[in-house]
């Protein structure tokens, strides 16, 4: 009860821009599930429902010169970097104006200093390489990489941590620990903790429980500044919640777990904090996404040649 109360109190501090972005991502993801449900999307997708606030909180801590590595659950990562829902939707639908011509789709996106790919664990060593480059050529810039709790099963994660700690690389690892990997609860796939693993490599670890944007930023700002100024890598672990299925229609979690995720949904907490302003912003983003879905769906197929 007190925890919820505190979150509600803090939630008042989300400014209009942040709120709009949070809700844009929420409605974008809901629209995707709806399009799938109606058979209008091909392939698969992983929505970040419930986790939208993580990249939104981070965006003000990141600079244009930083590189960002998204992952399979990366629509929020992308939208927090670029105000380009139409380009992303076109990518997912294979329509004209797609960010990557419809070749990469939901999981494989490259734009400026943003990149994502669909193979777990691959991105960390690559991000370390980018961080090495930045350290020499653009001191002060960093490589930020998003990974899930399940991805800590991959050995490449540890090779990258070791390298980046040894060489004090400007690498910011954002762990979205949503307590599950596809169908496997974290307790059944991770021995020990993310914290202890990071610390074993001499890498600093910081845990975040809150979904309050200002609180998160206040906590992280000095730590991220440390990464930029030669302090070596940092692992930030968000305790977060996956609201929806892993991809689509594949949720085998028990109802109690899903209910807990809903109870912790930032959407509810923010709505309760300031119902009227929230409702207006919510409606505006819903309408924006509806219009984008209509407009992009009417576009011709993307063009590309092998």
């Amino acid at each position: 009860m007190t925890e919820t109360g505190a979150a509600v109190l803090h939630a008042r501090r989300a400014d209009d821009d942040d709120l709009a972005l949070l809700l844009l991502i929420r409605h974008f993801e809901l629209a995707l599930l709806d399009l799938f449900g109606r058979g209008e999307l091909n392939g698969t997708t992983h929505t970040c429902l419930g986790q939208e606030y993580v990249p939104v909180a981070l965006r003000r801590l990141l600079a244009d010169a930083d590189h960002v590595f998204g992952n399979h659950r990366g629509h929020g990562h992308y939208l927090a970097r670029f105000d380009d829902p139409a380009g992303l939707l076109a990518e997912i639908m294979g329509r004209e104006g797609a960010v990557c011509g419809g070749v990469g789709g939901s999981q494989h996106i490259l734009r400026d200093r943003y990149v994502s790919t669909g193979v777990q664990g691959e991105s960390l060593p690559v991000a370390a390489g980018v961080a090495l480059h930045l350290k020499r050529t653009e001191p002060g810039a960093l490589a930020c990489v998003f990974i899930g709790d399940g991805t800590w099963g991959e050995g490449a994660v540890y090779e990258a941590l070791n390298l980046s700690s040894l060489w004090r690389l400007p690498l910011l690892v954002i762990v979205e620990n949503n307590g599950i990997a596809q169908s496997t609860p974290t307790t059944r796939q991770m021995a020990g903790t993310v914290r202890a693993r990071a610390e074993a490599f001499g890498v600093r670890h910081h845990g975040i429980e809150s979904s309050d944007l200002s609180a998160i930023r206040d906590e992280l700002a000095p730590l991220v500044a440390g990464v930029r100024s030669g302090g070596g890598p940092l692992v930030v672990e968000f305790a977060t919640h996956r609201l929806g299925p892993h991809s689509k229609g594949d949720d085998t979690r028990d109802p109690e777990t899903v209910r807990q995720a809903r109870d912790n949904d930032w959407y509810r907490l923010y709505a309760e904090a300031d119902p009227e302003r929230f409702a207006r912003a919510d409606e505006a983003q819903r309408a924006r996404v509806d219009a984008i879905v209509r407009e992009v769906s009417a576009r011709p197929p993307s063009r590309w040649r092998p």
Binding site: N42, T44, G150, Q182
Partner: protein
């Protein structure tokens, strides 16, 4: 029965009949039952030998090799065959090597299952057919699932071989029916080659063209054969080996000799393909009897795009096979 159900039944049967058998993989436990539901029911019946693992393809493949080293039979599910790249070292440098590199034969009974192929819009890292990368590794066998081969028999053969096997499963097949070759054609087992299924019109040795293709291509090849027959009066005989490597062309020669053209079709992308290995073996054996070199059909030399219209342009379609057969028969 659908191919996926047949495969699921094969795994049930294996665990039931062999108390040393394990099935290991990510998200394979009930109620989820695997990303493609192929392991449904296994963990409920055999909780000690069906293990859901962390996301650690290299680790779990090495683990399987360890079980196999102790005499157990281990089946690993790689969620998407693309990720078998992570297990390449364990397969090539440990499991396959161990069979012979210690000077005497060490049996390694393990199968690495790889859901494979495109056509579902999963994108460049979830749609590949990586068979060719496992061709030509001493000690390693490459198999492919087929609607014309009972999976239990194939699993028994793989484990009886005593060496590690990589088993490619075209994902599209899971929902297809076993032994379905349409109403025009018949199918049987190639005489003298138990491992090879045959699809033909009447006399397999009198077909205009012989198509050699792994299981994932059966649907597309049969549809192409149907069109060729009805529209062009061209007859084809389709040969579907279950084991792709090592590949024994010798028993196929009677059928190959009679044909005006021979074609190998596969979904993997062009360049360094399984088909070129097959073609080479056939050329060595009957070059002088062939009217023209063996023709190769594969997907374009390209990544596999996500968008359906782009994906279609890259992957082998019925029409690709249809056109290639006509081209090969042109005088």
């Amino acid at each position: 029965m659908r191919v996926g159900e047949n495969l699921n039944a094969a795994l049930h049967g294996l665990l039931e009949s062999d108390p040393s058998a394990y099935v290991i993989g990510e998200d394979i436990l009930d109620p989820y039952g695997g990303a493609f539901k192929i392991t449904k029911g296994l963990s409920s019946r055999f909780p000690e030998r069906v293990l859901g693992t962390p996301i650690s393809e290299s680790g779990i493949t090495g683990l399987a090799a360890g079980l196999a080293l102790c005499g157990d039979a281990a089946v690993v599910e790689i969620m998407f065959g693309d990720f078998v790249a992570l297990a390449f070292d364990q397969i090539v440098n440990f499991a396959a090597k161990s069979v012979t590199m210690y000077g005497s034969r060490v049996p390694i009974r393990m199968v690495v299952r790889c859901p494979t192929g495109g056509g579902r819009g999963y994108g460049p890292t979830h749609s590949q057919s990586l068979q060719k990368h496992f061709v030509g590794v001493p000690g390693l066998s490459v198999y492919e699932m087929s609607p014309l081969h009972d999976n239990r028999q194939v699993f028994d053969a793989m484990l009886a071989s005593g060496g590690p096997c990589v088993f490619f499963e075209d994902k599209i097949l899971y929902t297809r029916h076993m032994n379905d070759v349409g109403d025009l054609f018949r199918h049987d087992v190639m005489p003298g080659a138990e491992d090879v299924a045959r699809v033909f019109l009447d006399d397999p040795e009198k077909a205009d063209c012989v198509i050699i293709a792994p299981g994932g291509m059966v649907d597309r090849a049969v549809r192409a054969m149907r069109g060729l027959l009805l529209e062009q009066e061209v007859t084809c005989c389709l040969l579907v080996p279950s084991r792709l490597y090592p590949f024994d062309a010798e028993p196929l020669l009677p059928v190959l000799r009679g044909a005006r053209a021979v074609l190998v079709a596969e979904e993997g992308t062009a360049g360094g393909t399984w088909g070129s290995e097959v073609a080479h073996r056939i050329h060595r054996l009957i070059w002088n009897d062939l009217r023209r070199p063996v023709a190769l059909v594969s997907s374009a030399d390209s990544v596999i795009p996500t968008a359906a219209h782009l994906e279609r342009a890259v992957l082998v379609q019925d029409s690709t096979i249809h056109d290639a057969v006509l081209e090969a028969l042109r005088d």
